[in-house]
């Protein structure tokens, strides 16, 4: 089964088409690096896949069903532009809250385990408002992976992470791919995104300019895709 399927998807903001005639099929277990300049439509596409926004036209299926289906949402992890954490709650309270929203057994144990995994075990009871930007981003990543989703949608997950945290996140992504999860990763940081990716999609002004398996040449020259498909500079 394909993890993600888009058929002739359009999205309009007023008269402006943010996504145009998008056809995309992502197999289960793939790690898709979703690339594109600012305004290319990456966030819009991720929001539609997450069921946070309706497509204007076309069909969207995640794990074979409508992404707004509750059963599908339970199998998805989403990290958007915001960290989606409550500043007035502690790190562990935030994770326990989301563990309960996802109906997990042993919400506390799971939260504790993920805090350790992203290196925030010592700050479990600190309020999120006291965290640095990088710590908040790591906690947000833990929230997205907490319920072991089959499909993970990550919008700019490397933002504000230092080199050690980038390494931790890349390790998580590699583990997730090994475990058979499907990942869609939107970012401007080409090298970080291409390293764990199995597939690459490039959006140019709402159109899918390129989609294919990630090659060794892409890793060696990450800017090449932009040059070849008309968005150099």
């Amino acid at each position: 089964m394909n993890a993600l399927e888009l058929e002739d998807v359009w999205k309009f903001y007023g008269d402006f088409p943010a996504l145009r005639r998008l056809h995309l099929t992502v197999p289960q277990g793939a790690c898709l690096a979703l690339l594109g300049r600012n305004g290319a439509g990456k966030t819009t596409l991720l929001r539609i896949l997450a069921g946070l926004m309706r497509a204007g036209r076309g069909a969207v299926r995640v794990l074979g069903a409508d992404p707004r289906d509750r059963a599908v949402r339970a199998r998805m992890g989403v990290l958007g532009h915001g960290i989606a954490l409550y500043d007035e709650l502690s790190a562990i309270e935030n994770l326990v809250l989301f563990a309960r929203l996802y109906g997990l057994d042993d919400a506390f144990g799971r939260a504790r385990q993920w805090l350790e995994r992203v290196g925030l075990g010592a700050s479990a009871y600190s309020l999120v408002r006291e965290f640095s930007r990088g710590m908040r981003q790591r906690l947000a990543v833990a929230r997205a992976f907490l319920h072991e989703p089959e499909v993970v949608l990550l919008d700019e997950p490397f933002t504000a992470l230092d080199d050690r945290a980038v390494e931790t996140l890349q390790g998580l992504l590699r583990d997730a791919v090994t475990e058979g999860r499907t990942i869609v990763l939107s970012t401007h940081q080409l090298r970080e995104a291409l390293e764990p990716a199995t597939h690459v999609a490039l959006l140019v002004r709402g159109r899918l300019a390129f989609f294919g398996e990630r090659s060794r040449q892409m890793l060696e020259d990450p800017g090449r895709l932009y040059r070849e498909f008309g968005e150099a500079g």
Binding site: L52, R54, R75, L89, L101, Y102, E150
Partner: protein, 244 residues
């Protein structure tokens, strides 16, 4: 790929389930109450507003017992409604910081359960403000409101549910507007008129410790009917209100 599917599928069966409707609502309500009790932003503002209005009105007009009897219901519900707007405005605005609303909507909790959880949390916070206001009212207006405490709390609870149900729905609809603090009362109060009428009529005598007069049953039916109809309507509209 088939192996990957099997691995993820097997692990999921052991640990994850779509949370029940009521459980989802309770988790959301608990989160909202915990957040508010930790910051007390809306609660303090709402309490201060109620107390100040009741005190100012008492000092400005120094009403006699007869005047208080005539004004009690209207005065209390005006205070409840305006003070309530401060709590209702915060309900979804709280989710804007860090894009928390996206994470709630992306979770498997149904939009109706998410909405109901917020209504329940708002109802609890509003009831705290209304009961504190009644204490202030009793002291400064010399009203024996505790004599009919059960009936009074029942009526305030029904009226507050109406305020919470309608206010929470409009709080969701106006959350992304720049003038949401202004828009919320403008949209909520006209819709609330029937419930407010019923609540004012029933609260007036009860707040003075007296038995409600003739026609009580009609106002009570109006209030209960409003609560039932608008709860059902708001639950049906919750997905449209929460998903763009």
């Amino acid at each position: 790929m088939a192996q990957a599917e099997a691995r993820v599928g097997a692990r999921r069966k052991s640990s994850l389930a779509v949370p029940g409707w009521w459980r989802g609502a309770l988790v959301v309500a608990g989160k909202d109450l915990r957040s508010e009790l930790r910051t007390k932003d809306a609660l303090n503002a709402s309490l201060a507003f109620s107390v100040v209005i009741l005190l100012l009105f008492s000092f400005a007009f120094d009403p006699t017992v007869e005047e208080t009897r005539a004004l009690a219901g209207g005065l209390l519900w005006l205070v409840f409604a305006f003070a309530g707007a401060l709590i209702l405005n915060r309900s979804f605005a709280r989710e804007l910081a860090n894009d928390c609303l996206d994470a709630l909507v992306a979770s498997p909790v149904s939009p109706a359960a998410l909405y109901l959880g917020k209504v329940a949390a708002n109802w609890v916070l509003l009831m705290v403000v209304q009961l504190a206001s009644l204490v202030v009212f009793g002291v400064f207006y010399n009203a024996a409101w505790t004599r009919r405490l059960g009936a009074l709390v029942g009526v305030v609870a029904l009226g507050t549910w109406a305020l919470s149900v309608v206010g929470t729905l409009f709080s969701a609809l106006t959350v992304n507007l720049r003038l949401r603090e202004l828009m919320l009362p403008l949209l909520v109060y006209p819709v609330l008129i029937p419930a407010l009428l019923g609540a004012i009529q029933l609260t007036g005598p009860l707040a003075m410790g007296e038995a409600p007069g003739a026609g009580t049953e009609v106002w009570l039916r109006l209030l209960v009917g409003f609560d039932v109809i608008f709860t059902a309507l708001a639950l049906a509209l919750s997905e449209a209100a929460l998903v763009a």
